[in-house]
Amino acid sequence: MSGSGVRKISVNALARVEGEGSLHVRVANGRVEIAEFSIFEPPRFFEKFLQGRAVHEVPDLVARICGICPVAYQMTACHALETALGCTTTVPIETLRRLLYCGEWIQSHALHIHLLHAPDFLGHDSGLTLAKVAPELVERGLRLKAIGNRIMEVVGGRAVHPINVAIGGFHRAPAGADLQGLLPDLEWALGAAETVVAEVSRFEFPDFARGYECVSLKDPAEYPMNQGRVVASSGLDIDVADYERHFEERQVAWSTALQSVMLPAATPYLCGPLARFNLCFDQLPPRARAAAEACGLPWPLTNPFQSIVARAVEVVAACEEAVRIARAVQAAISPCRVPFEPREAEGCHATEAPRGIIFHRFRIGADGLIAAARIIPPTSQNQGQIEADLRDMLPDVLDLDDAAVTHRCEHLIRNYDPCISCATHFLKLKIERT
């Protein structure tokens, strides 16, 4: 496998990611010629079939882009359409939207940390085999996930594809007692999440420091979910409305997902937990920040394998915020929905999905129906950075056998928690070595 000749490594179907993708690596005389992260999930054409739909239908439709992060799509679409229509919601509505988003972050992150990512660090194929040797870790993770789901049920009406999200707010306000009823579990979850931070920060991380261009939303008052300006490590600080002037989606031959680059130099960039953690450390709520400081890893984190720590810190933050909100909202909010009038208009918005920044733009026609939709999910934004990481990491691991190289590559990709269903969809690894 070394010396002359082409060395090819192919993973035809990457496991423990959401959706279908593959990896193709070609190494000639020790030099990495190709490192392609392909997404072969069949395209589903959401942007097209949203055309002609009524404004009020959009939250139910865009949820179906992703079963793991439906709230990210619903929240982004609601805010974009409300911006277009000049529909201003209330502080209590936005507070409950944040609680709903906390639920999604908790369930999505808990799933990834415990069932998809931890097995890489602990030498297992899956969370199921891991559960046999570390039952308390996996059970804690599943309970955390169940609590995230429970928040989504109470606020959103259902954990996967919530039905209570409406343009202007919620179809029905959750009862105060149901919100209070979340508290015992949430308080347990907060403590459990702190334990998770301590445990995952003790994992052994491959040595791989990067100088990322991190991109996230940033809000001076809170850790970003539903609002903020778009900021980057290099100093970019723009309104969400200017997003498309600074970032561009490009089609590549080996993927059904479009890849985003940062302009003007068309460079890859990083979004997601690691980027948010690095850019918004000061906005972390107190216990999340304390957990991050106590784990002993230096901020900012530059090793993508430590994204699991950033993800765990975000679970603490989401639990902490959920406790705060559930304590504060004592009764059903009224009104739970601000009315809107469909008319010709255009608007955009970005929020922070569990995997990173997500942008939507909608144009509404004179008939009050959707005329055009643009949806930029986080995974297509991270796709270029994943490939750049692969190209840079591969030379250091080429003395390993193909199975070990393949595993390291898959582990690297899982650092990003790619949601291929969102980006259109999963991973095949093909390594060619000369």
């Binding site: 069949p42 079939f49 739909r53 079963g67 996967v160 059904t256």
Partner: protein, 263 residues
Amino acid sequence: MTAKPRLAVFKFASCDGCQLQLLDAAGLLQIADRIEIAHFLEASSRIEPGPYDIGLVEGSISTPHDAERIREIRGDCRYLVTIGACATSGGIQALRNWGRLDEFIGAVYASRPYVESLATSTAIADHVPVDFELRGCPIDTGQLVELITALLLGRKPRTPGECVCVECKARGTVCVAVAKGIPCLGPVTQAGCGAICPAHDRECFGCYGPAEAVNLVSLTGFYRQRGTSRESLLRLVRSINGYAPAFRAAGDALEAEATEAAT
């Protein structure tokens, strides 16, 4: 079945939400000791070749490659079970079935995409024989566990066949169609969700697809008489399960009426 039946999970065009129902505390751990998970890419990087005792299929057929792949999978599985709206009716992406594929591709991609698409997104049962269907967008975890348990015990799975109205009445929800005049698909949609939408003061929009032997054309006629426009009824019917035969027929009838009215 053998002492430890082998389960496989396969994904086609879909959002992952249905297989995710298996990956939570209520799903996974209840069955993990009783079966061998032989192929479940989202959960495990250990992939065992077939044959499998139970194959769960999520997603619809929308590419030429997938139309081939489902035939191989059928051959590998003793019981083939489709899970969710995509697998049982073509899903939300079946909205393309009424349009032109090139327009759909053009709306998303600048040039021809990497994966070839079929002009339609269709249910698994349109391609291969299916032993059991679990409805829903997403499916219900309890129903999934019941289904697997029933197959393991060799009995018929107990899943509801009645419509959402039955669950809605059982829950004591005030009827949104009668009391508020909101067109609701509860009378024609299969139960299983717990009638959550009317309980949140909104219409059922048919996530679980048509119940058995329903007359949706009659229901849309009723809502028309009460003043709802054809266009909004068409959008209601032609949605997540719009390509399921009963919903498709009602949608096509509304469209034909609208065309007739326009000429």
